[in-house]
Amino acid sequence: MITAERKPLAEIIDYIDNCRRILLVGCNECVTVCAAGGRKEVAMLASAMQMDFMKRGKTVDIREMTLERQCEPEYVEELAPFIDQADAVVSMACGCGVQEVVRRFRGKRVYPAVNTSFMGAAERPGVWAERCHGCGNCLLGLTGGICPIARCSKRLMNGPCGGSSKGKCEVSTEIDCVWQLIWDRLKELGIEDRYEEIILAKDWRTERGGGPRKIVREDLAQ
């Protein structure tokens, strides 16, 4: 999933301080699962904003809406009946959701309420960790299913580096050395020979090196 964390309230308020009517929009997908921008977080932020305004003797109208997926035009369309009644939209979706709202409602100011962080997985309740960078040419088949691009601090294709110590990365003792994890996993699977094969320099054009990316499925595209 895409993970995110709510921005500090002061930053959000700063964007909308001169607005009286806010459309506060969450998303039911990734940001709900990582507890950053789902229905509950929308309600919490609305309440916090309301209190902040009231405390300063100001009033604000906040309409709370949580869309099924804010990154798809069909769902973003649900905002249309309410958009004119809002001075600004505050979005609690990831950056993709924010930009879909921007693309649909050209004349409206749209502000982000979360910091979109990374593609990751829930290690345990309340803890999310980075797992994939979307490099466009997945290597997991060569590395025992563990990603050196997202999880090695240096993105080494043939690690570990000399900084690997007792299974930890030199960047922090909190970070597992991913090349240790890869080695352990290859051994577990009985395919440690794989480790001897050099992974060639990566062609980063499939990642961001080739500019913004697009996927077109001709059979589906309209």
Partner: protein, 151 residues
């Protein structure tokens, strides 16, 4: 100057604090009428939004009262409640509302005396803090209609 009588909302777990409050009554112990009790099936049922809404809508203080550690009827509801209280306190701090307006307390069903003591102490603590700044501003504005709305 009129004396300030705080409004305290106490979310009380059915298995402990609610019964303790009842016992305080049966024991004829005095505790302030300021404390409004909301019975919940477990302190773990109290969501951060309940705590926020209570303060947003005018409570001067909010108590979440659950079972003693290790005694939760649902195993860890009280531990989760305590963590949520801490989380909401950070949110309150961000808005500049005193985090001490919200507190987690624990007791067993038999602790009527403890319930009354906590009710007294917390009411005093909130009285010292003064009115909830949000509620005060709301009153001053002659209460605009609540506008937050859930889809």
């Amino acid at each position: 100057m009129e004396t300030f009588e705080p409004v305290i909302v106490a979310f009380c777990c059915h298995y402990c604090a609610y019964t303790a409050a009842d016992m305080a009554g049966t024991m004829r112990l005095d505790y302030p009428a300021n404390v409004k009790i909301v019975r919940v099936p477990c302190s773990g049922k109290v969501d951060p939004i309940h705590m926020m809404k209570a303060l947003e809508l005018g409570a001067d203080g909010v108590l979440v009262a659950g079972c003693l550690e290790g005694d939760c009827h649902f195993k860890t509801g009280n531990v989760k409640a305590a963590r949520r209280v801490t989380y909401v306190q950070t949110q309150l701090e961000e808005i500049g509302v005193e985090p001490q307006r919200l507190a987690m307390v624990t007791m067993s069903a038999g602790m009527g005396t403890r319930f009354a003591a906590i009710a007294n102490e917390f009411t005093e603590q909130i009285r010292k803090l003064g009115p909830n700044p949000v509620a005060a501003a709301r009153k001053a504005q002659a209460a605009p209609a609540p506008v937050a709305q859930v889809n």
